[in-house]
């Protein structure tokens, strides 16, 4: 997986593109004017590992409220603006760290130019973000973005991030391939309106998996009809499944079958829950395995492991370090990880 070469774009204290880690972002689902509720959700997102937060600014008053939110958080804030270009200007005055404009609903040359001049003056990057649900008639996801990018570039504005999100994975992937041929702006990736948590997580993972495998993606937002913390959890899991980021030890564990003599489901769940997101742990991988078919080799290759049996074998650094009964297995493995 060779990552696409992109230019760097600075968003508050964060830089995306180039060799920087693929940043995780999400969006608050509170009314932005409700400053307390929005700040509370930002805090939850930050604790879950979110690195940038977008807020909907449907009105001028919500864009004004952004300044109160900005005072109380350090996480880069992205203003999500549709239809009304004056909201974008107000968002910059309110201290947003990045603007998201939708080429499908603000497209007049003079308005884009005015936003570009102000954004340039305040060093605020702009995401040109097209979605299949708001592309203008006669345009495609790609042509829509390119039209708006051209207007920005005519004002000497190049701090651009691009997103092209279709509801069909295939359409989204082709659009990225096409766009990558003509720009080096970083890509914000995601599958739009992916759906409720179960189907939406799977669809986001298949879609983003394909995009990432082709080297696309400098920041990721998983869209789920669910609490935004779930979006962050799924994004982290997608990135770590491809070894693109590391957020704590990965647990591999066998599905079990008629060979397995222990309750591996409970052991794997307990171990996973206790070490989730413990990025400070030195162990990168643990293997919780049911039997002798794939167990010993995977447990040896991992930083720690367990192989089920009448006495369960506990591994660390490739060696058997303990033999324990089933009921002590989770505890014994956790002790090795946390050493």
């Amino acid at each position: 997986m060779k990552r696409r070469k992109t230019r760097e774009v600075r968003i508050g204290h964060l830089t995306i593109g180039g060799e920087n880690p693929i940043a995780i972002q999400s969006m608050t689902k509170t009314k932005t004017e409700d400053v307390e509720a929005t700040l509370a959700q930002i805090k939850e997102l930050e604790e879950a590992g979110c690195e940038m937060v977008r807020l909907a600014l449907p009105t001028l008053s919500s864009a004004k409220a952004l300044s109160k939110i900005k005072e109380k958080t350090n996480i880069p804030l992205i203003a999500d603006v549709h239809f009304n270009y004056k909201i974008a200007l107000q968002a910059i005055d309110s201290g947003c760290d990045k603007l998201r404009l939708n080429p499908g609903n603000i497209s007049e040359k003079d308005k884009i130019a005015e936003i570009a001049r102000k954004a340039k003056q305040y060093k605020i990057p702009i995401r040109v973000g097209a979605n299949s649900g708001s592309v203008k008639d006669g345009e495609t996801l790609v042509s829509s973005c390119l039209r708006e990018i051209k207007l920005l570039e005519e004002e000497g504005f190049f701090d651009v991030v691009v997103s092209i999100k279709g509801i069909e994975i295939e359409e989204t992937v082709s659009a990225h391939r096409e766009m990558a041929k003509v720009t080096d702006y970083p890509f914000h990736i995601g599958i739009t309106e992916a759906g409720p948590i179960f189907s939406g997580s799977i669809k986001s993972a298949t879609g983003c998996g394909i995009l990432l495998s082709e080297g696309f993606g400098d920041t990721i937002r998983v869209s789920l009809t669910a609490h935004p913390v779930e979006e962050v959890r799924v994004a982290k899991e997608i990135l770590s499944s491809l070894n693109l980021r590391h957020f704590g030890p990965e647990i591999i564990s066998c599905p079990t079958c008629g060979r397995c003599k222990i309750d591996l489901f409970s052991i794997a769940r307990e171990v996973e829950e206790k070490i989730k997101d413990r990025a400070s742990l030195s162990a990168k991988r643990g293997a919780i395995m049911g039997c002798e078919v794939n167990g010993p080799k995977e447990a040896k290759r991992a930083d720690f492991g367990l192989v089920g049996g009448i006495r369960c074998l506990v591994f660390r650094g490739g060696e058997i370090v303990d033999r324990v009964a089933e009921e002590d297995a989770a505890k014994a493995v956790l002790a090795e990880i946390l050493k």
Copy 2:
């Protein structure tokens, strides 16, 4: 996404490879000798949409028990055999529809030849299934499979399915690319030991998504440390996210944001639950959307839809057919789908 050309292989009443739908399989997690428990789990799997079921046969007595299971089910049964080639011979006698052999633990020429002759006589296909956890020292996933395939072919046996499952997605993808250059045998895809349900589902979706996007996959097994019905649910979701299979209407729904004025989470969940797996429904897609940004266009493009607002708009076939209050929205949309 151009599907790799593969030869057809018949497994009981099912054919995989060629232009056939990518078949979903799973594995029972019961003791195979416990015929009642195993049959009960097979029934659950079948009801969930599983199309082939694999059973672990760690002993000769479990291979004998297979015949009692075979009497009471019509779903193709796959015998999972490791270490002892006599179990494979017994599995054929017991009426299995396919054998899975692991080249990492049964590899002697004469034993493979004996299995091949008997499998040929009874028209039983063989999956040569390598996993990173049981590859012999000095071999790779690919070389291990090719060695065993050669032994089968020397006996004139060509009813082969291949699986090459690494715990690393990148390693798995490269192995498929390499194998595809040298054989046209159908691929059974999956990521081995993917882990507990949340991380395992995401890892399976990113991994299988990449494989499927490259055209690989004639049958899929998602391995989760969870009830096997979950494996089937995830496999179905992966395939439908890429439009490779259709199991009932897909729900796209927006993540919501500060613009949304209704409880879209509950509405989307209710609609999804009521239509899940209703493959007989003519509608292919529904769009449950929170606001006017992407809502109207997605709702029009879908077979049915909802756009939130003070009065929610209900769409069918691209037209607004109703305007309802939030509390009636799920019911109104469901009425349109089920019409």
